[in-house]
Each structure stands twice: as C-alpha cells, then as structure tokens.
Symmetry: D2
Subunit: 347 residues, 4 copies
C-alpha cells in the first residue's frame, strides 16, 4: 500500500512529539515535512533523542511555510499549534489541497460567538467553520471520512463526551445535573518554560484550576447538547496532578426516574461493542489511567449511587494519545480509508 | 509547665509515625509508652531512623497491654489501630482513667446501626458511644475540652466538613445536591504490604475507588445532617493519586436561590476568622496541597459557577496531619488546657 | 510466515507482564501457554486490564506443568521465575524439546561454585551449565543462534557490560579500576507485596542497597573478565530511585596510559555501528533513561576526565525491556531466525 | 532573649524560601527585610501561600538596596543570589556593619584563579576572600564564630566533605582514588523557568550532567586537599533524579594498606559523636534521603568492599536544608552565640 505523504506543523511540543512518535511508526505514512520555528534546521532525532535509529528520524525541521510544506507533496497535515495561530495556516494548507487535522481549538466550536466568548478573540477564520468536522471518530465517523478539515477534540472533552453521549441520546440522564471532575497529567500544560509547571511545583501537589469556566466547556457543552437534543450547561472541575500523562474523569449525573443499571449498560454496549478503542469495563469497575497510558484506548466504568439516584462514571485515557495525537491519527485513518487502528495498536 | 505523660498505641503505621513525629517534638508532652506488636522491644529510632537524635527516640516499643501502659503513668493515649480493635483497648484504658484520643472509626458514628451498616460488624463497645465526642476541634470545641474519649475524624471527612458546615448552618446550600470529589495521597492506604500500593502500581496511576459507598460517608453525612438540621445524603468519590500525603477535595452544591458570593464568604469568615488552622484563601482562589503538607492547616477556596448556580469549594489538607495525627493532637491540646497550636506550629 | 508457538512460565510479575506485552504484539509469535500458580484459570486480560482488546489476551493462565505446556505445542518457553525455581522447569522443558529462554540467574554463571557463593545454595542443575549461553545478543550472537538454553542477562549487568566489553577487549582501560554506580526503577524489586517497596517508602527516597556484594557482580565479573582476558573484580553500587522503570549506570575506569578519546570512540563505534539496539550518543553526551523507557534501546555516552585520567561512561536502558523481557525476545529472534528487532521496534 | 534582626536578600527562589521557612520560625530571629526584585511590594504570604498565618509572613518584599536593608536595623543578612551578583551586595552590607552569610559560590574558593577557572569570570571582590570563612560548621567551628562573612557550602560538597574529611585527616584513604557519585532532587536546579526542569522532563527520568568538571569540584577539592595535607583531584558525577529535595552521595576510595573497619568507624565517631546534625548510621548501613528531608541532619553509612579494598560511603542530606538554608542558619547560630540547633530542631 502506498504511504500517505504527511506533514506535522508545530512538532516540538508534547502533542507534536506524540504525533511524531505515532507517525514515524505508522505503516501507511511517510513523513515529508515537520515544522518548528524554534528547531528549524535540526533533525528530529537531535531534538528528540528518543527517536534515534527510527526510520525517518533524520528528517530536518523546517519553517512552517505553506508553500514549502505543499512542495514536499504532503497530502495531509496535522497542526499542533496554539489556537488563533492554527486557523491561519489551516486556511493556507486547505487552499493547497491538503487535508488538515487541526489539534487546536480553532475549529471545534461551530458558533463563532461562543468561540469568542471562551477564547477572548474573534474567530480567525469563520468561513471554514461550516466545513470543519469535530473529530470524535466514535461519534462523527461518517462526517470524518468525508472531511477536509478535522477539529480534533480536546483532551478533557474526549474523556467526558464518550461516556455521556450514548446515555444522553437515550435520555437516561437529567442533562442539567452533570458534573465532571477531571484530573490531568502535567503534559497537558505543554512544554513551554513556565515556573508553575516545574517539577518541584507539581510533584507532591494536587490542585484544581481553571474553574468555573475552563475553555473546554465550550466544546463539551456543544457536543452534549447535540446528544441531549437541548442546550445544557455542566460544571467542570479540572485538576493538575503529578503524572506525566493520563486523564481521569469522574462524572456524576442524576438518573431519569426509573432508569436501571441494565439500561445504562445496554446504552454503552450498543454504542461501543465494536469500537476499536473504547473499552467498557462494565458496571462496578473503576478506570485507572495506568492501563491506558501510551495507548489510544479509553476505559470506562460505571456505578449507580442508589442512595442519591446518581450515576457515577469513571473514564481513563492518555491525554496525549486518545486525548490528542492518537485520536487525530484515528481521524486521519478514516479520511484516507485506512484501518481505523493503523499505527495505533501498541500497548 | 509540666508535661502530659502520653502513650501511642499502634505506633508503627503511617498515622502512628506521624503521631510520633508530633509528640516527640511537642513541648508539653512526655511520651511514656509506644506500642506495636510487630516492633515490641525495638527502639523508636531503630524502627524510624528519621527520628534518630531526637530526645525520647530511644524509648522502646512495648506490647499494647493496658496495665503496662497505665503503669507508665500515661494520662492520655492516642490509638492508631484498625477499627474494631481500637474499641476494646479504648474501653480498658478509659477504665484506668486515661483520656483516649482514638483515630480509628470506632467512636465516630453515634448510631451503632449505621456503624454496622458501614463497617459490616456490630459495634464493639456501644456503651461508650454516648460519651464519645467527634473530634473536629473547629466545630465541637467545648465538647472536646470536656471529653474523656475523642473520636478523631477521618481524613476525607475533615476536608469536606470544615468548608460545608458553616454554609449548611446558614442554609445557603441545597443539602441534597452535595457532591464531593476527593484525591488522596497513598499514605492513606496505610503501611501494610499490599501489592496494590507498591510504588509501580501507584506511580503514573490515577484511579477512583470505594464508590459509591465509602465508609467515610457515615461520619460525613452524620455531621453534615447536624449542620443542615435535616438528614442528607451526598455523593462521594475518593481517588488515589501518586503523592505521599495530601488530600484535595472539590465539592459542589447548588446554591439556595438568591444566595450571593458575599453571603458565602461571610459565613466562612465568621466561622473561621480566628481559627488557628483553617486558612480561607478567599473567593476565586484554588487550594493546593503543596501549601499544607506536613502542617495542620487546611486551606479553603471557593468559586460560584453562575452558569449552573453551583458553589465550587476546593480544600487541601495533609491527610496524616490535619486529617489524622495533627488534628488528634489539636483535640489533645484542648483537653489538657494547652494552647490549641502547641506542637503544631511548624511549616 | 508461520508463528512460533511460545509459552511464558511465570507471567504474573513485572518481567512476566513485560514479556506478555511484547509477545502478544510480536508478529511472529503465537502465545499458546502462560502460567501462574496464583492466577491459574483467569484470563490474561482480567489479570492485566492493560491488555484488554489485544488479540490473544483472552488466553487463560495455567499451572506451570511441563507436560501441559508441551501439549500446547510450544516450541519456545520464556521463564520469568525466581532463581532456584527456574532450573527445575528448564530441565523439564528442554527434555521435551522446547527451547528455553530463562530470565532468572540460574544459568548465567558458568562456574557452579561462583553460583553457590553468590546465591547461597548449590546449583540446581549443573549438568545444563555447559550448554547454556549468556544471552547478550550483541556479544554472543552466534552462540545464541545455536542455543537451546539461553541465560538472559540481569538488568544491571546489561547496562554495565555493553559499554565496557569493547573497551576491555581493546585493552584501553585498567581492568582493576572499574567502579559502577547504577540507579534502578522500583519495578526491579518485583511485584511481591513488601512494605519496603510501597509507594510512600520509595517516593521521595534515594538509597543505595546490596553493597558491597550484590548478586549481579557474579555475571558482571565473569563477562568482563572474558573481555579483559584476565580475572577482575569491580565495585558495584546499586541504588533504588523513584521511577517505575529505567536503569542508569555511571561507570568510571582509569585509562591505560596514552589512551585517547578517539580510541575510545572508535572501539565503541566498531562494536556497535550496525547494532539494532545500542545507540552511541557520542563523546560528551549524557544518557537519560527517559529516552529509552519502554524500548529495547540502550543509550551510551562517554567523557574523559582528563584531570584524573579516568573514563566516565553513562548508559541508560529500560530494566524490564533491554534489561529483561526485550533482550530475551531479542535472543528468541536470533534462535528462530527472525529479524533481530521483530516485535521490538516501538518507541 | 533578644531576637537578631535579620535580612534575606534574594528570597524568592528555593533556597530563599527555605531560609524564609527556617527564619520565620526561628525563636531568636526577627525578619526585618526580605528582598526580591521580581516580588517587590508583595507580602511573603502572598508569594508563598504555604506561610500564611505564620507570624511575620505579612512582611513585604523590598528591592535589594543595601541602605534600605541597613535601615531596617538588620544585624545579619543571608544572601541567596546567583554567583557574581552576591559579591557586590555582600561588600555593601559588610561595609554597613552587617554580618553576611552568603549562600552563593562567590566566597567559597580561597584562590581567585581557581574561582575564575570554574566560574568563567574574574572574582568580583577578591579583597574580601581573606576574611571569608567556608561555612561548614562541623569543620570550621571556631572560625565561623568569629567571622563577618560566611561562604556557606554547596549542596553536593556538604554531602561529600563531611564523611571524607575525618578519614583524610587520619590518612586512612588514598587521596587520589576518590570518586563521588551524587544524586540530587530537582530543587537543586532552582526555580527559574527552564524547559529542562519541567515536571515531564524530570519525572521518570534519570540522568547525569555536568561531567567531568562540575563547578562544585573547586570547593570540594579545596577542602579535601586541606584535610589530606596535599593537593588532590577527585572524579565527581552528579545526577538529576525525580525527587523534590534530597542529595545522596555514594563515595568510593581505596583504603590505605592495612586500614581496618575499626579505624574507619573510630575516625568518624571521634569527629561526630557530639555533633548536633551528623548522624552516623554505622558500618554496613545505607543512608536514605527520606530520613533527612526537611531536616538539617546528614546521615552517613559505610561499607568496606574487601574484594577491591575500597571503602564505600553513602551519605544523605536535604539539599535545601543541610545543603543550603539549614547549614547557613547553623553558621548564623554560631556567629550570634545561639544554640547550634536553634530553629533547626524539627523533623
């Protein structure tokens, strides 16, 4: 099978290096361009010694110039850039016929007013919003297959949306009762030098942040509202905890009167029985991030708290894999007609 | 000032060694007996090299025999024993005129039927329940001063009760809407050899456990119901995270209609303005365990999520200090008329 | 290509589960038997939830019975058992025509008297020693290809032998001046419940252990003496540090008079230029375990301390991969004529 | 007893905040000035929430102006500044009659040529070198008592010098055979934002650095040469490991012919039997940093490797306490005639 010529734009951070890890080893990908303003001219393996001796790791970083990227023959480009910056280069790459999988927030929110509310600046490319597809492969499979522009979901949203969407679609939960408490590894904060994320500031530290209105609420509520068929708001409390990678979400919601454990279990099994990457642990089992780190799996368990009539869901994923790079590759596979799990099978 | 002759019964675990740390350095305490079946005959400093060169650290562990403990002249005894075991020795020590500060769950629950529901065996000494005082010094100050038997609170309950009690007393929250998500360091699991708590099973792991009916719910709901003036149930989700010590709780509750931030802040400030150990971070600030580890402080911050009309509280404490040994010493100080913060002032 | 039918004997510890990880995903392996007395009857995926949804993970653990193992058609067996126990089952499996790759120490030491000196019991199967091959693939390549019994090296020895052997063969170092300081992740201590390896006993702890005569000295000195052409002793100081996996060794040795950096570099490059898994970082570069964890690579850097005329080597490997399971698979690949890096290519 | 009016110059880094922790709680100290260009105008407790509710924590940071510091009545000043910067302000403070305890490297090296060799710039205040005392209280006790300018030792040097000096003084070791392998917690790298010390770059990472000529060699060799009575060079290999604080050193040296364990033990016991902070673990025992973190203790154990005739010493200290702030306070106590362990007694 011919390999898809592929670019990574912004490959020097944690999301970018995860994309490098996955794509350097992807059996149907040929990396033709990797960009980084800071590392331009250096080889992948000199910036990331972990990748030494891997085929392709001698490729040099280039400047993020759309023409130069197109000149390498790239058919697809992954963007691991800050929001606001991603939209501009996405526009340029799409104009050159390149499929774009954007890992920033720029194309996740359908409504530019909501984007502006949460990201505090006008949307940089509203004309592209109509064609962008929210890249949650288990939910928007067909739209992803046909898309030229994927807005790959945020790390927290993935861990919250996948368990809730089937239950809201079946109307098993009070949509206005949802509260999500999530814990994230420190890689979620990125690789920029910031004293708040030094080892000694995070190790032996547990802290919430970004409450009450974390930016990921915009996409979480958009997708949950679609599933529920009505607008909803949730409470979302993210926490920073001392692990490298991993997101754990504990989600509570009040059950619709009379809802049974069997209905909950059936709704989840009907949604995900054939899923390549969603692993249902079953009722009464808790998810643990150590079972999913460095994989594209998301593990989901659930309990009913009969004393309060609430459902408790726990989910675990790797924030840089299923929560970022891996999920983006999953969309890429769908777009190019590859097996959904190509390049994503290792544990 | 004369020193209070004091015993620690069960001093070889994490709670016991924290009591050792605090009491070996307490200016008004003379340790006369420390017990441990496993370590009997060995000196404190040989079992805990950390305490070498501390005055008193050459004392040898003895068997937990009430007569021998009484023979050392002990006026007070801290019990750091499993539930079920603590009650028996508490009875024997009280009969010998010794004030008992019990750190197990045995005397925390007023109703023996609730005890049996949560701890799965009949209460071992129901005749003592009437005289036992729940040792939350900020809440039951006067009762503690007069008590002969203190039931020192659990680690999770402390972090949940202290912020909520003043708000429920002022009727600012819907008492049936409370959800608490807590994260605990691994010391909370104790020092017994158990493969689940090996370094490699906890490091780089995030997981919930004990849902939906963790034992600490019994005392949490007892004390919250007292504050609210009506019976209530809460949802409680504890998590195990890779730090040595520290508990962080994120608590949500629906505000009574019309409740303002000012009312919330005033209720907390009125309750704790003069508190030695409760530190109110103020509205809009998140607690962080790294600011309280190895201290008896509990830090509390709060936010209003106006989109959902919920209050979000974050609290941080050290599970083996304010959540165990330190709080027990605080009660001890009250009982013996010492400054509340004696032996508890270091950061 | 036909898959090699393969057994893992003793698959419930950290080495065993690493073998599971590698062999479940090995393109030329069919796992036909996995044994564990403790887990017999349970499926791989129920014991190790990490492996859920992997092909082959529904296989059930069986008792370690040689006849039953042979009855599955196994052509090869990996043994991840304690020393002393491994020899007995190795004998039985070899008698049934099964190639054995033993990860214990039982067949590493050629001289049964040295074995007894370091392991404190007589060798359990001295008649097999003559046919056992020390499974360091970079050094004993041809012997491994022809072997029926591989003694796969210890984790520390691998990190010390690979950099030193080429230098001793070229007579560039004083063989009596070698000192190795190694740090190991806690997985090296195994998965048995032992309070010394609880999270809280290892986290925020740095400690040496096993000095001055750690058991791994026996195989280290055997192989270094072979390379030097004369008997030698080294000083070896292992340390336990709070990471899950990874071994870092810092090795010093006095240079033979007049030895130049060029000679050192040439000796290493001549030995490993074409190696699949040895990555030479070059002079002046330090190894870092985070670049090799979960891979079969060993990274090696070197410096000359001209003030003292000593060579300083740093090496980094993953103790459960190149230091255990991965290296064992590497030998397996050689035995069965597979590409040396089959099943070992992921980073 | 009257409190000594004291300043901390450069109090916003890890060493500075450790000095804050110690001095805010020191019974004989009144903090009159704390400086930080970055935090000027903010209170101690707003910059370091850990110190809230401590007496003195409402003091505001000021600019590091010598006249303003002197105007607060400060009798002593601790300098926690980068080398090169410290010398200038030390000169100004000494001119104003203030005793200076400098925690930088500026006054540790007696010979300005050696300073220039290791620090790569001319010594900024050579005229002060003659009066500066190397602040290792166990070694230079009397000189410290009489000093106006203390050069408080580096973290690594303390862990290496204290065990070796008594042995070199007794001529028990070959002074040219010394090799020290040290591991340091990440706080040793300081609090400046640098991507190399982000949580994810240090967690699950083990690496050496700064070889073969780390700056601390200058003071180590100066003091060891004094003890040995002849110039010597050592090999020193520092490692960065994922703990917050703690230094562990493993030191090897060839024994003089005929040296016995008894001589080693006697030399150490004679030197430190009455020491407040050196804890001799005895022969055959390994030091562990978890027993000394947050204390001013240094633990020392030793073994003889009879197979190679080498002594192996392990030492453990907290790099920001005995390796920095605590040791500086110890010198301060000596200067002002206070008990050596004043303010340094907690574990």
């Amino acid at each position: 099978m011919q390999r898809v010529k592929t670019a990574i734009v912004g490959a020097s951070g944690y999301t970018g290096s995860e994309l490098l890890r996955l794509l350097l080893q992807h059996p149907h990908v040929e990396l033709t361009a990797v960009t980084s303003r800071a590392e331009a001219g250096k080889s992948i393996e000199s910036v990331f010694p972990r990748f030494r001796k891997l085929s392709g790791a001698t490729l040099a970083f280039m400047e993020p110039d759309p023409d130069q990227i197109a000149a390498t023959g790239a058919q697809a480009a992954f963007l691991a850039l800050p929001h606001g910056v991603a939209a501009e280069i996405a526009t340029a790459l799409i104009a050159r016929g390149i499929k774009v999988i954007d890992l920033s927030a720029d194309f996740r929110i359908h409504d530019p007013a909501v984007y502006q509310e949460f990201y505090a600046h006008p949307h940089p490319a509203p004309e592209l919003l109509a064609s962008a597809v929210y890249g949650l492969p288990e939910v928007h499979t067909d739209a992803i297959r046909a898309a030229s522009l994927i807005a790959s979901p945020g790390c927290y949203p993935t861990s919250i949306l996948l368990p809730l969407i089937p239950l809201l679609r079946k109307n098993l939960l009070d949509p206005h009762s949802i509260i999500a408490n999530s814990m994230s590894g420190v890689s979620g904060a990125g690789k920029k030098p910031d004293a708040a994320f030094l080892f000694c500031e995070c190790n032996e530290s547990l802290r919430a942040y970004g409450i009450p209105k974390h930016r990921h609420l915009a996409e979480i509520e958009q997708e949950l509202s679609l599933a529920a068929g009505e607008p909803l708001c949730i409470t979302f409390i993210p926490h920073l905890v001392p692990v490298n990678t991993g997101i754990h979400s504990a989600i509570t919601a009040t059950l619709r009167p009379g809802t049974t454990m069997t209905e909950i279990t059936n709704a989840l099994e009907n949604a995900y029985a054939d899923s390549a990457f969603v692993r249902l642990l079953g009722p009464g089992v808790c998810a643990d991030t150590k079972n999913v780190t460095r994989t594209n799996f998301i593990d989901i368990g659930w309990h009913i708290d009969s004393r309060t009539n609430r459902l408790i869901i726990t989910s675990a994923e790797d924030n840089v894999v299923k929560g970022a790079g891996g999920q983006a590759v999953q969309s890429f596979n769908l777009i190019f007609g590859l097996p959904e799990n190509a390049g994503l099978q290792t544990v």
